[in-house]
Every structure is written in C-alpha cells, then in structure tokens.
C-alpha cells in the first residue's frame, strides 16, 4: 500500500504539473524574466495553489500520531540557514534559470519531451551523484 500510494501521489503530481503549464521551460523562464516586459505570473498561481492545499492537508495530517503506512513521520528538523543551504539554493537557481527545468518537471518530462530533456535529467542525476561522492558534504536524502 505504501508503494501504491507513492505511485498515485507521483501520478497526481505529474498531472498537476502538466495541467499547470510548468512542464514548458519557456513558461517557467517567462516567470523568471521579470525585466523582459512580458512577465508571465502563472508560476505564482501554481505555487500558491500547491502551498495552500498542502498547508491545509499537512495541518490535518499532523493531528495524527503517525502516517498510514509507516511508524513515524520523516520530516526535516533542520532549522539552520547556513552557507550550505543558501549556496546550494543559489547553484540550483542558476541551473534552473539557464534551462527552465527544476527537478519535478525534469523528471516528469522524461516520458514525452525528447532527448534534450532526458539529457537534462541525466545530468541532474550526475550532479546528485557528484555531491554524494564528495566526502565533506554527506548527502541527506530523506
């Protein structure tokens, strides 16, 4: 059931991305291009819709002692706003701005968007593996 729920969550996530228009890097870049004179605010509405629903859903879930198919919740308790967090976010932002793909749309595009998109996803995985290979920055994939 845990695996089936995760697959369903991924499916709904992918349909939501497709409907929202955010699988098109041009639309994402249209949001990021605030000085271009043709600003596309669509992404704000995607994020707003997602955060609103998730905030309500998460609030209700936290009334439970544990999730349906696990013994406990696995939520990050990190609070540090440190150079690692901000440096990582800045690196990610540069990559996002260069092409218009963040990880969700990059993975969701593998099945339909052609070779260049698949190469982006592969390079992204390569970057993740490179991070894991560096001893001074152990990965916390959770």
């Amino acid at each position: 059931m845990r695996i089936a729920s995760a697959a369903l969550a991924g499916l709904i996530f992918g349909i939501g991305l497709a409907l929202s228009g955010m699988l098109d890097p041009v639309r994402v870049l249209g949001f990021l291009d605030i000085a271009g004179g043709q600003w596309d605010p669509t992404l704000v509405f995607v994020l707003g819709g997602a955060v609103s629903v998730a905030a309500i859903g998460f609030g209700l879930i936290r009334l439970r002692a544990k999730p349906l198919f696990d013994e406990r919740f696995h939520l990050s308790e990190a609070t540090a706003i440190d150079p690692k967090l901000l440096g990582g976010a800045a690196m990610f932002g540069v990559g996002w701005g260069l092409v218009g793909y963040c990880p969700g749309p990059a993975i969701a595009s593998i099945g339909f968007a052609g070779t260049p998109s698949a190469i982006f996803a592969l390079a992204m995985v390569g970057g993740m593996l490179l991070h894991r290979a560096l001893p001074e920055s152990p990965s916390q994939a959770s």
């Binding site: 696995h74 990582g88 990610f92």
Partner: protein, 141 residues
C-alpha cells in the same frame, strides 16, 4: 504587457500538486521533494528505494495520462547541449547541497511555514531570475 497568463489551470494544477504532497505525507510520512526522492531512489538502502521509485514512475506517467485524456503537452525547445548538461548538473548538485528544490522547499517547506525553506526558496528564485536577466542581456533580447 503580460503574455500567456493562464491562472485557472495554474491554480488547479497547483492544487493537484498540493494534494499529491498531502497524500504522500499521509501514506508514507514523507515530504514530496522531487530532488530528495530522486537522489534517494538511486542511493538509499534497498527497501527505502521502492516507494521513491514508485513515486518517480507515477510522476513520469502523469503527463502521459494527462495527454491521453486530451491534455496538451509542450514540445520544449532547450538551449545548446553543453548548457543543458551544465544546468542539469548545477540543479542536481545544488539541490543536494541545499537539501531541496521547488517542491521540497518551495511547496512542502512553505506549507510547513519553515523559515529555512523560505530562505532557500527566496535564494533559488532570486538566483534564477538573475541568471535569466543576465542571459537575456547577453543575447540582446
């Protein structure tokens, strides 16, 4: 002037993403951060890979199901290959170093009112906007 603004599908699509994150947290107790799930699907210990792989398979099939029911998918035009590779590597490395991406920090972290996720989100949006600004100036558009 505003181009291509589609607020209604954006809101509904966004709501579906929020619903997916809610379902994942309810069922597995995990946050729907695509970068963390992807990295974990490759490198986590055996049993922890399964649900992550299932989520990613669902994510890949989502747009295909959407198209099956008549939805329109983009045919993306990406920049030159070296740019794609460098950008992909930056996204992969950066999301691991910063522990999250648009979904983990941007959607789930903001929904949890996490100041850390807000700082990360503000940083990657600002860096991405600065990158687009510089690139478009270089291109002379």
């Amino acid at each position: 002037m505003i181009a291509d603004f589609t607020p209604v599908p954006a809101l509904i699509g966004g709501a579906l993403i929020g619903l997916a994150a809610t379902l994942l947290l309810l069922a597995t107790g995990r946050v729907a951060g695509v970068s963390g799930i992807t990295a974990g699907a490759i490198a986590a210990p055996g049993p922890e890979r399964d649900w992550r792989t299932a989520f990613l398979v669902g994510l890949i099939f989502g747009p295909i199901v959407f198209a099956f029911f008549g939805g329109e998918l983009p045919r993306p035009l990406l920049p030159a290959l070296p740019v794609i590779v460098i950008a992909g590597a930056l996204v992969g490395f950066g999301t691991q170093l910063g522990n999250g991406c648009t979904s983990g920090h941007g959607v789930c972290g903001l929904a949890r009112l996490s100041p850390r996720s807000l700082a990360a989100t503000a940083t990657f949006v600002a860096a991405a906007m600065a990158t687009v600004f510089i690139i478009r100036r270089l291109e002379g558009i």
